[in-house]
């Protein structure tokens, strides 16, 4: 299935500066693997060392949080949109 993954602004730098990436996948887990396969820098921003999704990153299929579906086993169908939504705190960060 072709699904669209929307990349949030803070992570676009690690995804070829793209706003969204189309991948072939049957589940959310497959879609995210396909995505990190294309953009390896994204991996450490999405997943902890134990392979679990980081707790400041949420993933939605259309408008539903996958934590309340079947997590990474959640099925996706043709035309679904997966959103990656990390927490942002700002403010204009100064450093």
């Amino acid at each position: 299935m072709a699904v669209k993954v929307i990349i949030p602004t803070p992570l676009r730098a690690y995804a070829g500066k793209q706003e969204s990436v189309d991948v072939q996948a049957g589940t959310v887990g497959e879609a995210l693997s396909a995505l990190t396969g294309k953009f390896s820098d994204l991996k450490k921003h999405l997943f902890a060392d134990d392979g679990r999704l980081r707790s400041f990153v949420n993933v939605y299929v259309n408008d539903e949080d996958i934590r309340y579906l079947q997590k990474d086993q959640t099925k996706v169908k043709e035309g679904d949109t997966i959103s990656i939504v990390p927490s942002i705190a700002g403010g204009a960060h100064r450093r």
Partner: protein, 394 residues
């Protein structure tokens, strides 16, 4: 909800509007959704705004203009030139003044009929509950994770709604947390990102108008909560992208296992939020210690002597355009991939804007086997202060 046995003091004497106030609020009074009832609710409302920056500016202005009777402001900063690009509460003549004073003056001038409570303080675990308890609604306009978790937990513990907005570059997130037992910030994000993974200022910045849009949405939701009209932004996370000019909405659910608002909470009082967020003071991340440094004046004298020094600039290309020391540009995020461009036999001085990113770069290069490498102490900002004042600071 006030019961017959527990009537708040303010409700004992029915509020009325003066002739002046009727005139001032007439565009509210003639619309049925607000009307006299709504305007009197606004007059009796007490809203606490955390932060008077990018989000707090439009928020404060619209709440004051709308006639919210008591507005609390919490901030500790002073106005600086970089604020003026988006913090529309302040003017050029306010630079150097405490934000809280400048903000209170501006809002009181906009509407002398209301009460402004100015708290020039950091919000802390020690003072938050005390500050919040007198207000009906808390609006979170801060810019850092520890304060966001602190505001959330204090609101949940006190049962007060938290009108939340946050921004990054040209993207915003808005919702109301903790309203009538609804989901809270920790339901959405149980934990903050570790400091190393937070996008740095290299990718930071913010489109000046973005906090204006997000802050006015927070203001609209606050006013709606007060007058009790419409569908509040509860259980819905509104995402806004100013570049695409698109709003999207995601479902926000209460997490039954939420550590603060779940059935069996483990957070029952305010905690140390800096520690929770992995932040120790204002220092560089604790992983970066004992790296060799060179001061701007030492670098200057060595360059003047004609020493063969290789200047490595680890900022972003758009920062290089603002000002540079004619260094070789490799953004920190690309360093691992482009390390072969560097010659480890040469002496290398790495720099960034303030010295933090370049400290990470030096540490990384040391681990990669580079021995003759220094971090420019204080970055290009310090260079501007100590060596060449013609270099602009940003």
């Amino acid at each position: 909800m006030a019961t017959k046995t527990d009537i708040p003091a303010a409700a004992k004497q029915p509020a009325t509007l003066s002739k002046q106030e009727v005139l001032r609020y007439s565009r509210h009074l003639i619309m049925p959704e607000v009307g006299m009832d709504g305007q009197l609710k606004l007059k009796q409302a007490k809203v606490l705004c955390i932060g008077t920056g990018g989000l707090g500016a439009p928020l404060g202005l619209y709440l004051a203009a709308a006639g919210v009777g008591r507005i609390g402001l919490v901030d500790f900063d002073a106005v600086d030139f970089t604020n003026l690009q988006r913090q529309v509460l302040f003017g050029t003549s306010d630079v150097g003044r405490p934000k809280i004073t400048a903000a209170a003056d501006r809002l009181q001038n906009l509407n002398p009929e209301i009460q402004i409570d100015a708290y020039e303080t950091h919000l802390t675990s020690e003072n938050a509950l005390d500050l919040f308890k007198d207000y009906d609604i808390i609006v979170d306009g801060t810019d850092n994770f520890p304060t966001r978790y602190l505001v959330n937990d204090a609101c949940v513990l006190l049962g007060k709604p938290n009108v939340y907005g946050s921004i990054f570059r040209f993207e915003g997130q808005i919702t109301i947390f903790g309203y009538q037992g609804g989901p809270c910030y920790r339901c959405l994000y149980p934990e903050p990102p570790p400091p190393g993974l937070v996008p740095s200022c290299a990718e930071g910045g913010v489109l000046g108008v973005l906090p204006g849009i997000v802050g006015t949405i927070q203001a609209a939701e606050t006013l709606k909560l007060i007058i009790g009209k419409g569908d509040p932004l509860v259980g819905r996370l509104l995402l806004f992208d100013a570049l695409a000019m698109k709003f999207r909405e995601l479902k926000l659910r209460k997490n039954p296992e939420c550590p603060v608002c779940g059935a069996h909470p483990t957070v029952t009082k305010l905690i140390d939020y800096a520690e929770f967020c992995g932040i120790r003071g204002e220092e560089a991340p604790s992983t970066v210690i004992n790296i060799p440094e060179i001061t701007p004046s030492d670098l200057k004298s060595r360059l003047d002597r004609g020493d063969d020094l290789y200047i490595l600039d680890v900022r972003e290309p758009h920062e290089y355009q603002i000002c540079n020391l004619h260094g070789h540009l490799i953004p920190l995020g690309e360093l691992a991939r482009r390390v072969h461009e560097l010659d480890s036999s040469r002496e290398i001085v790495a720099h960034c804007r303030s010295g933090k990113r370049s400290a990470e770069a030096v540490q990384f290069l040391q681990q990669a086997g580079f021995r003759k490498i220094w971090n420019l102490k204080g970055g290009i900002l310090a260079w501007s202060d100590e060596v060449d004042p013609s270099v602009p600071k940003y």
